[in-house]
Amino acid sequence: AQTVTQSQPEMSVQEAETVTLSCTYDTSESDYYLFWYKQPPSRQMILVIRQEAYKQQNATENRFSVNFQKAAKSFSLKISDSQLGDAAMYFCAYRNSGGYQKVTFGIGTKLQVIP
Protein backbone atom coordinates (compact mmCIF):
# COMPACT_ATOMS: atom_id res chain seq x y z
CA ALA A 1 0.00 0.00 0.00
CA GLN A 2 1.11 3.51 -0.70
CA THR A 3 2.05 5.79 2.16
CA VAL A 4 2.53 9.54 2.32
CA THR A 5 4.69 11.11 5.01
CA GLN A 6 4.69 14.73 6.08
CA SER A 7 7.32 15.09 8.77
CA GLN A 8 6.62 18.70 9.74
CA PRO A 9 3.44 18.94 11.85
CA GLU A 10 3.76 22.71 12.08
CA MET A 11 5.76 25.41 10.36
CA SER A 12 5.87 29.16 10.41
CA VAL A 13 7.03 31.78 7.94
CA GLN A 14 7.31 35.54 7.95
CA GLU A 15 5.02 37.36 5.59
CA ALA A 16 6.70 37.89 2.18
CA GLU A 17 9.26 35.16 2.87
CA THR A 18 9.57 31.73 1.29
CA VAL A 19 8.75 28.44 2.96
CA THR A 20 9.09 24.82 1.87
CA LEU A 21 6.85 22.03 3.08
CA SER A 22 8.18 18.50 2.84
CA CYS A 23 6.48 15.34 1.65
CA THR A 24 7.79 11.88 0.92
CA TYR A 25 5.86 8.90 -0.34
CA ASP A 26 6.35 5.23 -0.85
CA THR A 27 5.15 3.36 -3.90
CA SER A 28 6.22 0.61 -6.24
CA GLU A 29 4.33 2.18 -9.14
CA SER A 30 6.04 4.13 -11.90
CA ASP A 31 3.05 6.17 -13.02
CA TYR A 32 1.07 8.15 -10.49
CA TYR A 33 -0.08 11.62 -9.50
CA LEU A 34 0.83 13.86 -6.60
CA PHE A 35 -1.15 16.73 -5.14
CA TRP A 36 -0.94 19.46 -2.55
CA TYR A 37 -4.24 20.49 -0.98
CA LYS A 38 -4.83 23.50 1.26
CA GLN A 39 -7.40 23.61 4.07
CA PRO A 40 -7.82 27.14 5.51
CA PRO A 41 -9.29 27.41 9.02
CA SER A 42 -12.99 26.56 8.91
CA ARG A 43 -12.99 26.56 5.14
CA GLN A 44 -13.15 23.95 2.41
CA MET A 45 -10.14 22.07 1.22
CA ILE A 46 -8.92 23.13 -2.20
CA LEU A 47 -6.30 21.95 -4.64
CA VAL A 48 -3.10 23.99 -4.71
CA ILE A 49 -0.97 22.18 -7.25
CA ARG A 50 -0.58 18.78 -8.91
CA GLN A 51 2.18 16.81 -10.61
CA GLU A 52 2.19 13.86 -12.95
CA ALA A 53 4.99 11.42 -12.17
CA TYR A 54 5.97 10.96 -15.79
CA LYS A 55 6.58 14.69 -16.23
CA GLN A 56 10.07 15.71 -15.23
CA GLN A 57 9.26 19.40 -15.19
CA ASN A 58 8.19 20.69 -11.82
CA ALA A 59 4.68 22.11 -11.65
CA THR A 60 4.18 25.80 -10.88
CA GLU A 61 1.05 27.77 -10.01
CA ASN A 62 1.77 31.45 -9.40
CA ARG A 63 3.56 31.63 -6.02
CA PHE A 64 3.37 27.87 -5.50
CA SER A 65 5.87 25.44 -6.97
CA VAL A 66 6.96 21.91 -6.29
CA ASN A 67 10.29 20.13 -6.20
CA PHE A 68 9.53 16.66 -7.49
CA GLN A 69 12.34 14.15 -7.03
CA LYS A 70 11.02 10.86 -8.38
CA ALA A 71 14.00 8.71 -7.48
CA ALA A 72 13.98 10.03 -3.93
CA LYS A 73 10.15 9.83 -3.79
CA SER A 74 10.03 13.39 -2.58
CA PHE A 75 7.45 16.05 -3.40
CA SER A 76 8.00 19.33 -1.56
CA LEU A 77 5.90 22.47 -1.87
CA LYS A 78 7.51 25.90 -2.02
CA ILE A 79 5.45 28.97 -1.25
CA SER A 80 7.08 32.21 -2.33
CA ASP A 81 6.18 35.69 -1.08
CA SER A 82 4.04 34.20 1.69
CA GLN A 83 0.78 35.97 2.42
CA LEU A 84 -1.48 35.93 5.47
CA GLY A 85 -4.05 34.03 3.42
CA ASP A 86 -1.60 31.18 3.00
CA ALA A 87 -2.08 30.20 6.64
CA ALA A 88 -3.72 26.77 6.53
CA MET A 89 -3.27 23.04 6.85
CA TYR A 90 -1.47 21.65 3.82
CA PHE A 91 -1.95 18.04 2.80
CA CYS A 92 0.24 16.10 0.44
CA ALA A 93 -1.62 13.41 -1.49
CA TYR A 94 -0.85 10.51 -3.81
CA ARG A 95 -2.95 8.71 -6.40
CA ASN A 96 -2.16 5.73 -8.62
CA SER A 97 -2.68 6.22 -12.33
CA GLY A 98 -5.01 3.25 -12.77
CA GLY A 99 -8.16 2.12 -11.07
CA TYR A 100 -10.59 4.26 -9.23
CA GLN A 101 -9.53 7.53 -7.79
CA LYS A 102 -8.49 6.43 -4.36
CA VAL A 103 -6.17 9.05 -2.90
CA THR A 104 -3.80 8.60 0.02
CA PHE A 105 -3.23 11.70 2.14
CA GLY A 106 -0.45 12.66 4.52
CA ILE A 107 -1.23 13.84 8.03
CA GLY A 108 -0.83 17.48 7.10
CA THR A 109 1.41 20.43 7.95
CA LYS A 110 -0.04 23.45 9.72
CA LEU A 111 1.46 26.62 8.29
CA GLN A 112 1.43 29.82 10.29
CA VAL A 113 2.19 33.12 8.55
CA ILE A 114 3.62 35.78 10.83
CA PRO A 115 2.84 39.41 9.93
Binding site: V4, Q6, P9, Y33, F35, Y37, R43, Q44, M45, I46, L47, R50, E52, F91, R95, N96, S97, G98, Y100, Q101, K102, V103, F105, G106, I107, G108
Partner: protein, 114 residues
Amino acid sequence: DVKVTQSSRYLVKRTGEKVFLECVQDMDHENMFWYRQDPGLGLRLIYFSYDVKMKEKGDIPEGYSVSREKKERFSLILESASTNQTSMYLCASSLYGSSYNEQFFGPGTRLTVL
Protein backbone atom coordinates in the same frame (compact mmCIF):
# COMPACT_ATOMS: atom_id res chain seq x y z
CA ASP B 1 -17.91 26.52 -9.79
CA VAL B 2 -18.09 22.99 -8.52
CA LYS B 3 -20.13 22.87 -5.40
CA VAL B 4 -20.11 20.11 -2.82
CA THR B 5 -22.44 20.64 0.10
CA GLN B 6 -22.92 18.71 3.30
CA SER B 7 -26.15 18.67 5.25
CA SER B 8 -24.75 19.93 8.54
CA ARG B 9 -21.64 21.79 9.68
CA TYR B 10 -22.04 20.64 13.28
CA LEU B 11 -23.89 17.65 14.65
CA VAL B 12 -24.25 16.31 18.18
CA LYS B 13 -25.61 12.81 18.70
CA ARG B 14 -25.86 10.31 21.50
CA THR B 15 -24.21 6.92 21.68
CA GLY B 16 -26.29 4.29 19.91
CA GLU B 17 -28.16 6.71 17.67
CA LYS B 18 -28.35 6.16 13.92
CA VAL B 19 -26.69 9.06 12.15
CA PHE B 20 -27.05 10.18 8.54
CA LEU B 21 -24.55 12.51 6.91
CA GLU B 22 -25.61 13.78 3.52
CA CYS B 23 -23.45 15.06 0.69
CA VAL B 24 -24.62 16.60 -2.57
CA GLN B 25 -22.55 17.70 -5.57
CA ASP B 26 -23.79 19.70 -8.53
CA MET B 27 -21.20 18.90 -11.20
CA ASP B 28 -22.40 15.51 -12.41
CA HIS B 29 -19.31 13.80 -10.99
CA GLU B 30 -19.23 10.02 -11.05
CA ASN B 31 -16.93 9.57 -8.09
CA MET B 32 -17.84 10.48 -4.54
CA PHE B 33 -15.92 9.90 -1.33
CA TRP B 34 -16.31 10.03 2.42
CA TYR B 35 -13.26 10.78 4.56
CA ARG B 36 -12.71 11.10 8.24
CA GLN B 37 -10.25 13.77 9.42
CA ASP B 38 -8.57 13.51 12.81
CA PRO B 39 -5.62 15.55 14.15
CA GLY B 40 -2.35 13.72 13.61
CA LEU B 41 -3.99 11.16 11.34
CA GLY B 42 -4.82 13.25 8.29
CA LEU B 43 -7.65 12.15 6.02
CA ARG B 44 -8.65 8.53 6.00
CA LEU B 45 -10.98 7.11 3.38
CA ILE B 46 -14.13 5.47 4.73
CA TYR B 47 -16.02 4.59 1.53
CA PHE B 48 -16.17 5.72 -2.04
CA SER B 49 -18.58 5.31 -4.91
CA TYR B 50 -17.91 5.41 -8.63
CA ASP B 51 -21.52 5.14 -9.81
CA VAL B 52 -25.07 5.05 -8.59
CA LYS B 53 -25.66 2.11 -6.25
CA MET B 54 -21.95 1.20 -6.41
CA LYS B 55 -19.69 1.42 -3.39
CA GLU B 56 -16.23 0.36 -2.37
CA LYS B 57 -14.72 0.11 1.09
CA GLY B 58 -11.93 2.45 1.92
CA ASP B 59 -9.35 2.10 4.63
CA ILE B 60 -11.62 2.39 7.68
CA PRO B 61 -15.14 1.18 6.79
CA GLU B 62 -15.92 -0.51 10.10
CA GLY B 63 -18.94 1.01 11.81
CA TYR B 64 -20.07 2.86 8.68
CA SER B 65 -22.22 2.21 5.66
CA VAL B 66 -23.09 4.32 2.63
CA SER B 67 -25.87 4.82 0.17
CA ARG B 68 -25.87 6.26 -3.32
CA GLU B 69 -29.32 6.19 -4.87
CA LYS B 70 -28.81 9.25 -7.07
CA LYS B 71 -25.70 10.39 -8.86
CA GLU B 72 -25.50 13.70 -7.05
CA ARG B 73 -26.04 12.39 -3.53
CA PHE B 74 -23.84 10.21 -1.32
CA SER B 75 -24.86 9.43 2.23
CA LEU B 76 -22.75 8.17 5.10
CA ILE B 77 -24.57 6.19 7.77
CA LEU B 78 -23.44 5.42 11.28
CA GLU B 79 -25.72 2.55 12.26
CA SER B 80 -25.04 2.91 15.98
CA ALA B 81 -22.90 5.90 16.78
CA SER B 82 -20.07 5.48 19.25
CA THR B 83 -17.87 8.03 20.99
CA ASN B 84 -14.85 6.98 18.91
CA GLN B 85 -16.70 8.19 15.82
CA THR B 86 -16.47 11.76 17.05
CA SER B 87 -14.60 13.43 14.22
CA MET B 88 -14.68 15.75 11.22
CA TYR B 89 -16.25 14.10 8.18
CA LEU B 90 -15.40 15.35 4.71
CA CYS B 91 -17.21 14.52 1.50
CA ALA B 92 -15.53 14.89 -1.90
CA SER B 93 -16.34 14.31 -5.54
CA SER B 94 -14.39 13.98 -8.76
CA LEU B 95 -14.86 13.30 -12.43
CA TYR B 96 -14.28 9.74 -13.55
CA GLY B 97 -11.85 8.99 -16.34
CA SER B 98 -8.85 11.20 -16.01
CA SER B 99 -6.55 10.24 -13.19
CA TYR B 100 -5.35 13.79 -13.09
CA ASN B 101 -8.64 15.16 -11.92
CA GLU B 102 -8.75 16.77 -8.54
CA GLN B 103 -11.19 16.02 -5.80
CA PHE B 104 -13.58 18.76 -4.76
CA PHE B 105 -14.39 18.85 -1.09
CA GLY B 106 -17.39 19.88 0.94
CA PRO B 107 -17.10 22.10 4.03
CA GLY B 108 -17.13 19.16 6.42
CA THR B 109 -19.41 18.00 9.23
CA ARG B 110 -18.03 18.05 12.73
CA LEU B 111 -19.76 15.21 14.53
CA THR B 112 -19.72 14.85 18.29
CA VAL B 113 -21.03 11.64 19.82
CA LEU B 114 -21.80 11.90 23.52
